[in-house]
Subunit: 362 residues, 2 copies
């Protein structure tokens, strides 16, 4: 059984906090981190909050060689009354356990993960930036640590949570991005690891992303790896299209990540009685809609940007400008509603937001 | 420019060496390791041989989150006269640089890598086991170390070489294994990272391997991820079939790893004037050959086992026994010739073997 008393060792020195307007994404980390250790036969032990510090890892640790590692990403916001808010953290912890199953890694109790998270955030509360659009990015992850070069699941793991204050994704307000449709490289394929949040999927995507960036595109749009026809995701976001009044997003087909923003947007749209469908959608269909003038909006969704309108799509020789390269009405409404709920400014009628209670005291 | 003076810091204490007959694969490591650091703008610096010890890595290091890591695997053997022999090390270093390109990682000079390797082996020479079938397994690898959570190539890396004395793959002599044809999970797909020796490919394969092991199979046979028809690899080995006197191996199609054992076997077969072809081969074709009685031999090839005869293939409801579950004549000849060349017992007319010279002195 897991013994989960969380011990706390406070850092003796505090790092200097960056200024809110100079925050980037994921460069600066808070004073503490949460760590727990797993060993086959013993389960998870030694749950602890300790000063943020380098990990000591054997050079033969499984994670370095066979990539057994999974992660999650979510954010904490400070609300109007100074309360600290999390957005659907239980969804992240559930997804993490789905990822761990695919990668032959041990499950981590979801309630304990959230308890650890809340305790860690309470301790590093002063690190949460308060300027409009900023937040505290939370990165839970699990890595395989057994020093063994046989290709088999590790018998030892670490579960870690680190925190990073991050700036606004849109420095000059929400604005549309240019996307390159990727015809050569493939992110994932059914039967592979595309539905898991595991390192290899991201390593695999770097090359295409680098080429797209050099050409002036902010992200790539991934096509399915089998027919190279159907739309999967955009960079590390799920993707939505509004065609002729109906919202379409690719159905979860076994190679797409099940985004929590995606799920929330589907719920919002249904709540608003806006026609929405999850189904296969091909680039051909998108081009036809564009030519017919019925492609009204396109946007990516994910924790980092929440909603990211797409202003231009480049597919081979075709350049499709969407909605005159302006942020569409629906994209804007979704962005404002979701970020409003996340920061406690818009009423949360879905029960999505969790307040970090101050009862979690050191 | 890379400054590659290799400094040496010897370990003050020596670890106890395991007994030759108790060696496993990749569990025990020698007294020293080679490390070099890369930083964008500076290239590779601080080439050093130091005592084998844990790495200190920031919890936000790219390798833990986005899997930017590649590796190689080769072996050193002690020959009859006590000389230390490497098998085609330049091929491994070349492949490592191909992998690094796919993963947006920096190249590492191939000659310096081999120099570092030879120097490290000279220092830990006493660790090379001498019993028949044993060897020193060499694991060069490169990991991304920049503490940054943005999904982009790291600006910092470590190149590391570790050494592990390993036992004989075949404790009771070469013998055929049982293989399960994998119909659900996919290892790699063209456009993905299958041709690179990178962690994500192995993480992805663990689940299928685990299921196969539970059913009593030693490895899975991977099918192509598009049509799920064509044969790709067996576990972490390339695969060959002898049908009606002709040897067939799947052609390098963009998702198969280009094995150095595979390449050497193709060269040997051509040298011996045995008909051999690299082409697509489907499970249907294999089954037909089996039914017609023309599937004469099947074997996997890789650094670990060199040649691994396949005695039984399970494809859904079909169980195909190959060559009466006996090691075939050709499999045996290839195994003996290759291991003979590797250990200096068979004349190396191809110039494959490199002797580690003792001029590399500390
Ligand atoms: C590949 C990929 N797709 C989609 C998403 C969006 O998921 P979520 O909305 O849960 O952040 C992410 C990450 O956040 C991702 O990494
Ligand atoms: C996926 C995979 N295929 C094939 C091989 C065989 O390659 P080599 O003969 O170079 O060892 C390996 C590794 O060794 C491998 O990891």
């Amino acid at each position: 059984m897991t013994n989960h008393v969380i011990t706390v060792t406070l850092s003796e020195s505090k790092k200097q906090k960056p200024q809110s307007d100079q925050l980037e994404f994921g460069r600066v980390f808070t004073d503490h981190m949460f760590v727990a250790d797993y060993c086959e036969g013993q389960g998870w032990t030694d749950h602890r909050i300790i000063p943020y510090a380098p990990l000591e890892m054997d050079p033969a640790a499984t994670v370095f060689h066979y990539g057994q590692t999974i992660f999650e990403g979510l954010k904490a916001y400070v609300g109007k009354e100074g309360q600290v808010l999390l957005f659907r953290p239980e969804e992240n912890m559930r997804r993490m356990n789905k990822s761990s199953e695919r990668l032959c890694m041990p499950a981590f109790n979801e309630e304990i993960a959230i308890e650890a998270l809340e305790k860690l955030i309470s301790i590093d509360k002063d690190w949460i930036p308060v300027t409009e659009g900023t937040s505290l990015y939370i990165r839970p992850f699990m890595v395989a640590t057994e020093p063994y070069l046989g290709v088999s699941p590790s018998k030892k793991y670490k579960f870690i949570i680190i925190l990073s204050p991050v700036g606004s994704y849109y420095k000059e307000g929400i604005h549309p991005v240019k996307i390159l449709v990727e015809n050569e490289y493939v992110r994932a394929v059914a039967g592979g690891t595309g539905t898991a949040k595991t390192a290899g999927n991201y390593a695999s995507g770097l090359r295409a992303q680098e080429i797209a960036s050099k050409k002036g595109y902010s992200q790539v749009l991934w096509l399915d790896g089998v027919e190279r026809k159907y739309i999967e995701e955009v960079g590390s976001m799920n993707v939505f299209f509004k065609i002729n009044g109906e919202v379409i997003t690719p159905i979860l087909n076994g190679s797409i990540l099940e985004g929590i923003t995606r799920k929330s947007i589907l719920q919002l749209l249904r709540h608003w009685d806006i026609p929405v469908v999850e189904r296969k959608i091909s680039m051909e269909e998108l081009r036809s809609a564009h030519q017919a003038g019925t492609l009204e909006e396109a946007f990516g969704t994910g924790t980092a940007a929440v909603v990211s309108p797409i202003g231009e799509l480049n597919w081979g020789d075709d350049i499709m400008v969407v909605n005159n390269n302006q942020t569409g009405e629906l994209s804007k409404k979704l962005y404002e509603t979701l970020t409003g709920i996340q920061t406690g400014k818009v009423e949360d009628s879905f029960g999505w937001v969790v307040e970090v209670t101050d009862t979690v005291k050191v």
